[in-house]
Amino acid sequence: MIRLLGALLACLTVGAALAVAVLWRPLPVEDLPLRVTSRLAEAGAGHAVTAVLLDFRAYDTLLEVAVLLVAVVVAMALREAQPDGPDRMGLANPLLRAVMGWLLPLLLLMAAYLLWAGSSRPGGAFQAGSVLAASGVLLRLAGVGFNWLDNPLRLRAVLVLGLAVFVAVGVSTLIGGRQFLDYPHEIAADLILVIELALTLSIGLALVSLFQLAPPQHTGPHLPDRRRRTRR
């Protein structure tokens, strides 16, 4: 009860503070959208959101890909510590397989479109990557394995590809005497496309791996005996 009241009090305080802050907010002094529009021509992407993500604030995106990779590293290490049985995921469902037959090419096509569209229209590496991940999860639900990725070295290489390409581009701009991630203007668009391609693959695979690295449902119970007593 006290806990509920405390939570209510804390949440009302936060809500009230937010409300006051929203009500009394001043007019911003800075106009970033204007700055983006005026410099868009110098960036390597015509679509403003993509330009912000991969050029103006590319550093944030680089770190964000690192965050995703950290999650995968942890999941991998935990599986090492708590080995799972053989992965027998798959619902051997003929209907699902049939649906997959035409859904999968469609999804792949969509991912490719999103990636390609990103430079001028809504879309880009994240959206394409998540569609890729969705198709990967579907494949897994249908019980189709990725034999090519069973090799741990290959799996790791693809997982790390996005971050590696990003860092490599940054380091080469540094070595070339420019600022970190300051793409030379002539090849900026190409570089961004290469980075996006690598990001799409890595993001897609990372999301699928996070799905796959959790202990599978078929793993037998590992509960220690002392836990068997009924508890609330």
Partner: protein, 98 residues
Amino acid sequence: MSGGAWYAWVGVALSTLGFFGFVVHRHLVRRLLAFNIMGSGCFLLLVGLAGDGRAIDPVAQALVLTGIVVAVASTALALVLLRRWYRVSGESVLPEDV
């Protein structure tokens, strides 16, 4: 009131709701739901206020895209941890004290 401001208020409501749920619930899956709802409210607040009465703000949108990926990475990691924890303890809540 512009659309941006209205959705910013919705964001305030969602953040508060999510915060409450996060603090009140014990079940870990529920806490993650609350975390995601609070995050969504936060993103709405960011884009809603930035786009209020002005041109569309691509910077705010890019920030939210980054935020969404970070949120999904955190949620996925939390679920992996939860399943590992459940596997050794049989509990889907955390022990009150260690």
